[in-house]
Assembly symmetry: C2
Homo-oligomer: 459 residues x 2
């Protein structure tokens, strides 16, 4: 099978010379990548282990600490050097225990709701008020000032699954800014249609924020079936719809989180390292399998496979960032702590565990030879050479802050927003075959980068 | 399109004469059935309405009462005669508010659980105990007497989606009898892997029972991802696994439920009626769209379409049974109340809203002409002539008690057990195209039956 794949891939390479270059410069890493495609078990071992033995890892809590301890032990057991849990301080929000929404009239029934990160508490007595419907953020923005006084705002949206995840930018504002806008117009609370593409009674958590000067209000996400039900109620009700909403999240104040790091030490410590990143925390409502246990498994497995093929020229540094979900606390802390230690290139895996389909870099023009060599090397895994400029993910702030090289290995996001930030983010959603394809592509790319003597960005 | 379908269907008919018989005896009903396939809105209106305006309808509660009131109003508004809510008494169980399971050690994390119908309460303090794993009921049965003293039993199973739903019989005992067997061996509580085929954090509710002389214990269903996680914990833990389980269901004692009935009155009241049935109650955790709002919509829509084609010879009686889920209370009460009023034939729709693919009767041998005519008439909708003997569903006890004619219009159950008894049983799971095919087939079959002058069973 692989022979056929290689033959077909070679036919579509920009030049056969490029393929030969890859083969000659990193034959062992290429062989490791091919082997990972068939038989990697490391990434699965990581994501199975952390989801089973730790489970949810809400940022800043003791559960996240158990997750970091687990990852530290795993990295050490797998031969990584310089493993550490680098502490940082953060402001910590927790969801509380009681999340409840019910229609009081005219169609009494419970709705499934969960609090958004940053939501205020309703108190145990809840808030009972008329609900006002907005189809989306644009409609909410058009509401007059004060028009929501004493009301609960409901904000909808429509979201289509997209391979590149781009509709997160289209529908995401409902969650990101909806509650803040509603509060600024007088709303006492907000419920949104979960930002997602599934049809299950599992709300999509995630952070929301309130503008400067606007006090946080209670804000919850209805599951999509519940939101659709509420929308039908608006179509059918002849009078106002009254909801009782009870959410009891709490701000814990300042707590300590940490960034887990570990290294494959390179032959030449004077060369800046290759930084491969993910995040170790998850939302409280799932077990953080696709977000982002799988990503941590992928990057760590790839680093180890590269090392197994022979000590690389450069150090490969794994960063499992803490507290990504509630505000990139770990990514920011890592950059602040290490800003004076140049990295060569940053890559992140944080978009699930489905197949990688596109490669992009931010050095296509500044280092076209390396860009072309990587593109040629990953082509046999079904990864195309994208035309955009890589900007990196949440966990590699340091790469942007240092204006260094960045690579994006774009995963298929078609079903990502069925699961993102939901209780359904569990191990059974990880496809072992696609997970191995991720490890294979990462092994190939990191193998090239870690053995590249010249500056990655070419500047 | 329909012309082509008819032409192809005719080619596969047992005899062309049979097709001509159908066309000649019930042309208006056949035309109504064809029209329903393209444009029925009644069934959708019913299931959308009751799920939106009432929602969950737990047997014996005021929510079920609101459901019956809603159905009575809908039947009257749609021109049914003799609409009534026939009361009966029942013993009522309610799930309570707090359902929680958590692993205390060695891998602390919450698991999603819901109580099974008939479960006892743990009290608010919960039960904390070691969990003992059984792969299935057979493994549990092999456990020695007393071996579960003080323990929580976990019972798994493996279940594959099946078009005919037959694996419910294979996996169902885990829920139906597992807790009772565990309790008889000393278990203080039981948790099961939900009996279902999905991978979502939504437990499958449903009733369980305890043998004579065995006191009810707390019994809950874990969602399937949580059950899989627990099974992995057993693989990974070096010592015992301790769980804290909190379930607070309550027995309300005797309450009043009811059976909603309505009729299309036939031209000859001396002939026994055609009974078409469904159930109006649902489990508390979903909105009862596929179980069984859709079924009620299908049978009522079909009855009305037959009437619209001309007053039928026989009366068509719609029975929307109360309290099916917790023990067929309504079906039994209906039979007891009406046992002396012969029905001609009973049919039930209670297996979701996906396409009907097979027709069976219990009069293939006793009335082969009618059986063949019905088979011929539904062939154009993709419904085959099954080889089994129809036994009817839960809501037509009276047909079995009277030993009268029974027809099964078998729906595609491939995805039924993804949704059955879960929070995910919501309107968005109903496919309007498949729902209309159900209405079309029912309209065709009921149209023939209600205009059949001779005894349906042929005896």
């Amino acid at each position: 099978m692989r022979t056929l794949v290689l033959a077909l891939a070679a036919a579509s390479l920009p030049t056969l010379a490029a393929a030969q270059t890859v083969a000659s410069e990193t034959p062992a890493a290429a062989a490791s990548a091919d082997a990972a495609l068939e038989s990697d078990t490391l990434a699965w071992d990581f994501v199975e282990g952390i989801t089973t033995e730790v489970g949810p890892r809400q940022a800043g809590t003791e559960a996240e600490k158990r997750g970091r301890d687990w990852a530290v032990a795993w990295l050490k057991a797998n031969g990584f050097a310089n493993v550490a849990d680098e502490p940082f301080e953060m402001e910590t929000w927790v969801p509380g225990e009681l999340h409840r929404a019910e229609i009081v009239s005219p169609f009494p029934q419970p709705l499934v709701v969960q609090p958004l990160g940053g939501s205020a508490s309703t108190g145990p007595e809840g808030i009972t008020a008329e609900v006002v419907e907005f189809a989306n953020v644009a409609a909410l923005e058009a509401a007059p000032a004060g028009s929501l006084n004493g009301k609960i705002a409901y904000i909808g949206h429509a979201m289509t699954p997209t391979q590149d995840g781009s509709q997160y930018g289209f529908a995401g504002p409902t969650r990101w800014v909806g509650a803040g806008i509603a509060a600024s117009k007088g709303a006492v609370a907000t419920v949104i249609k979960s930002v997602g593409t599934d049809r299950h009674r599992n709300p999509h958590a995630g952070g929301t924020s309130f503008p400067e000067g606007v006090a946080a209000t209670p804000a919850g996400a209805l599951s999509i079936p519940d939101a659709l039900n509420l929308e039908r109620m608006f179509d059918r009700a002849e009078g106002p719809i009254t909801m009782k909403l009870t959410l009891e999240p709490r701000e814990l104040g300042t707590t300590t989180s940490g960034n887990v790091v570990g290294e494959i030490v390179g032959r030449d410590p004077s060369l800046p390292p290759v930084l491969v990143a993910c995040h170790i925390d998850s939302w409280w409502n799932g077990t953080g399998a696709i977000d982002d246990g799988a990503g941590c498994g992928i990057v760590a497995a790839a680093a180890k496979h590269v090392a197994a093929a022979g000590q690389p020229l450069r150090t490969i540094r794994v960063l499992m960032a803490g507290a990504e979900e509630t505000g990139l606390w770990g990514s920011r802390a890592y950059s602040a702590a290490h800003i004076d230690e140049p990295i060569a290139v940053g890559l992140e895996s944080d978009f699930g565990a489905d197949r990688i389909w596109q490669f992009e870099s931010n050095f296509r023009e500044s280092n076209p030879d390396l860009h072309a060599r990587i593109a040629a090397a990953v082509a046999r895994f079904g990864v195309s050479n994208g035309t955009g400029v890589a900007t990196g993910g949440a966990d590699i702030n340091i790469a942007r802050d240092q204006k260094t090289a960045i690579i994006d290995l774009q995963q298929d996001g078609t079903r990502y927003f069925d699961l993102h930030h939901t209780p359904d983010d569990t191990l059974d959603k990880v496809d072992p075959v696609q997970l191995r394809q991720n490890v294979a592509v990462w092994t190939q790319v990191v193998g090239i980068l870690a053995n590249e003597p010249g500056p990655i960005k070419g500047e």
